[in-house]
């Protein structure tokens, strides 16, 4: 859905969270002040639903969100003929309440439809811990 005003976008996101009919809410918003941010964070925590805010990379103001991720490009995995087998992204956790920040390289498995850590970095212990944090966080904030 598209809205004419930023205010309506925020209202719609909050409405969707409170309806609890959805699995997650994702919104693209450029500017947001701290107070609204806290309000959204509260709504997400109350309803126990993940809320993703997609932000342009330029905006880096203070945020009340639980986590902030930055997604960057990374060269894809190639087979010996030079064909792309798995797309890769560089993920960095820039802010994390009650947790450690870090940087990971993930690749997407098109057959299994899931992300996994890239082979060079794959470590079962890290892999498990990141996937768990990702699911448990009530509110994720992602900057791309």
């Amino acid at each position: 859905m598209e809205t004419a005003h930023r205010k309506d976008t925020l209202w719609a996101m909050e409405e969707a969270l409170h309806s609890r009919a959805v699995a997650a809410v994702a919104g693209f918003i450029d500017q947001i002040d701290l107070k609204t941010n806290q309000r959204l964070q509260l709504a997400a925590t109350d309803c126990g639903l993940p809320l993703f805010l997609l932000r342009p990379a330029e905006f880096l103001e203070a945020s009340a969100a639980a986590t902030r991720w930055r997604v960057g490009a990374a060269p894809a995995a190639r087979d010996r003929f030079g064909l792309i087998t798995r797309a890769r992204w560089r993920l960095s956790l820039e802010r994390c309440r009650n947790g450690r920040t870090g940087e990971w390289m993930v690749e997407y498995d098109h057959v299994a439809h899931r992300f996994s850590l890239a082979a060079a970095l794959a470590d079962p212990a890290i892999s498990r811990s990141t996937s768990e944090t990702g699911e448990r966080e009530p509110s994720l904030r992602r900057a791309s």
Partner: protein, 560 residues
């Protein structure tokens, strides 16, 4: 002229006077008709619209008698039966009733009608369709008059074209002789003369199936009279039961019950107030009480509201109406009142109440069937299943942001990536709400299985032109410049060739028509990755030396 798809191509289903004068007949193929006259305007028959129009006419006709019954398929579906027993005297007699009915049909609906009154429905049907002044019954070969009543007029709407001749019957005996009033527009048959009146009519007047009619004609039975005095047993043995049944029904030996039309219920409440109200809270409180009243009726009838209208009558005479549309039928008071509240909020900003509102009415404008459901004993935290919750959310969002604000993706059969999907308003089918189907099972079936490895995460709304350096004109790109940044290509994968949709072009691409030529070009898509891992979806438009000399490049999507 209306056409219907039949055996051997489309056939004529209805004609107007001009087409009839040109020598066209019902049942002809459309190809024959075109060959005969050269220019004919045709429309496809819309049986649903015909049916709706006939139902509306039947509902209107209940002003004469409570028992009005639109004709079903077996009667030709183009007229009505009215049981006017005990109702005729209210209009000053049968003749006056027919005159009034004929006048109103012409004036209100533009329908020229053929009317008949008889003791039985079958007889009235036969007279309305086949009766002429006594001389013409004898002189005119049967079967030809059929078109005249179908095509009559030619001025009325397409939707009502199939519904011109209502028929009427009465059971009260009237001792007058057979009367033909005005240019044989209506016929009144006195009681007890059915056999006499039926005898000269064509056998089609018996409402038989076309097969039976054809067989009877082949055997030499042209009029009903030829059948009436024959022994019954051989006919019972050789023909379907309908033959004798129809004769008996027309002559009144067999009862023919009518299915009277039932007016759809009206869900409406109105409340006058002692003191005018001004505030939003007061209106909402009143709307809640209205809705509580309506909800009981809706529950009783097993329906839910899909559309509602709140009417606010001002003291100074004006009326404010608020229309509310719902995604799924609902009779949830709290939900509907919340929607009204949201709508009022928008209205309050634009207008002021003036001297206040003295009456408030709430009407259901669209009701749909809604199965009763068991309420949860303990209200769950998500209150209802997924589809219903989604419908509530969509309703709420639409009230504030406008009816077209919430949209979903729908697949389109196209190979061009930018045309392969479109945004359409979300519809949640009620089958989802009943929980029989899981969400997405019916909608997702239409989506093609996408090749996710070669489709970008972000497809640009419009492909953006880019400057590309390639080693050979039809090879992959080596370097390109997009949005002011130059990217060195580290690896390219492709091409994936997507042909132009030539079937969408009405004319072959002419060199002068630049836009048509652009559309008709073939695209070669490449997946391109630069040294930092940025992945792009580029395409080259036009095949080198076959379609174009200087191919243009575009960036169409981003992977990372």
């Amino acid at each position: 002229m209306l056409a219907v798809t039949g055996s051997g191509g489309p056939r004529i289903a209805a004609l107007n006077e001009a087409a009839e004068a040109a020598g066209l007949a019902l049942g002809e193929t459309l190809a024959d008709a075109r060959a005969k006259t050269g220019r004919v305007q045709t429309r496809a028959v819309d049986t649903t619209a015909d049916d709706t129009a006939l139902r509306r006419l039947a509902l209107w006709a209940t002003r004469y008698t409570p028992t009005a019954s639109p004709w079903g398929e077996e009667n030709g579906a183009d007229g009505l039966f009215l049981d006017i027993e005990g109702a005729a005297h209210l209009f000053g007699g049968e003749e006056k009733l027919l005159a009034d009915l004929s006048f109103r049909l012409t004036k209100n609906f533009g329908l020229p009608a053929r009317l008949a009154i008889a003791d039985t429905p079958g007889m009235a049907w036969a007279l309305a369709r086949f009766a002429r002044a006594p001389s013409s019954i004898l002189s005119r070969p049967a079967g030809e008059d059929d078109h005249a009543q179908h095509g009559g007029g030619g001025k009325y709407e397409c939707a009502e074209q199939a519904a011109p001749p209502p028929s009427h019957f009465v059971r009260s005996p009237s001792p007058a002789p057979l009367r033909y009033a005005g240019e044989d527009k209506y016929v009144i048959l006195p009681s007890g003369q059915e056999a006499q009146a039926l005898a000269p009519l064509a056998i089609e007047a018996l409402r038989l199936s076309p097969d039976t009619c054809r067989t009877l004609r082949r055997l030499g039975f042209k009029t009903v009279g030829a059948l009436l005095d024959k022994p019954r047993a051989p006919f019972a043995a050789r023909f379907p039961a309908e033959l004798l049944q129809r004769i008996d029904q027309a002559l009144g030996r067999l009862e023919e019950p009518l299915k009277p039309i039932v007016a759809p219920p009206v869900y409406h409440t109105l409340r006058y107030l002692l003191e005018p109200i001004f505030t939003q809270e007061a209106i909402v409180a009143l709307a809640r009480r209205h809705m509580q009243t309506l909800a009981q009726v809706l529950v009783r009838d097993d329906v839910g509201a899909r559309g509602l209208r709140l009417s606010l009558y001002r003291v100074d005479g004006g009326v404010e109406t608020i229309d509310i549309a719902l995604t799924l039928p609902s009779r949830d008071v709290a939900h509907i009142v919340r929607l009204i509240d949201l709508k009022l909020e928008a209205l309050a900003a634009a207008e002021d109440a003036g001297f206040g509102f003295e009456a408030v009415g709430l009407a259901v404008t669209r009701a749909e069937r809604m199965a009763a459901r068991q309420n949860e004993l303990i209200a769950g935290d998500n209150g209802g299943d997924g589809a219903e919750g989604c419908a509530l959310l969509v309703d709420t969002l639409r009230q504030r942001l406008g009816p077209h604000s919430v949209r979903g993706f729908a697949p389109v059969a196209s190979h061009l990536p930018e045309r392969a999907e479109k945004l359409a308003p979300i519809t949640i089918s009620s089958s989802l709400a009943t929980g029989e189907l899981r969400e997405g099972t019916n909608g997702a079936a239409a989506w093609p299985e996408p090749d996710r490895t070669t489709r970008p995460l972000l497809l640009l709304p419009h492909a953006e032109p880019t400057e590309v350096m390639a080693l050979i004109p039809d090879g992959p790109p080596r370097r390109f410049r997009w949005r002011g940044v130059t990217y060195e290509v580290a690896g390219a994968q492709g091409p994936e060739r997507i042909g132009a949709e030539w079937w969408h072009l009405s004319a072959p691409p002419a060199p002068a028509n630049a836009s048509a030529r652009l559309q008709a070009l073939t695209r070669d898509y490449y997946l391109v990755e630069d040294a930092d891992g940025h992945r792009f979806w580029l395409y080259r438009e036009g095949l080198y030396e076959r379609e174009t000399v200087a191919a243009r490049w575009f960036v169409h999507g981003l992977f990372a």
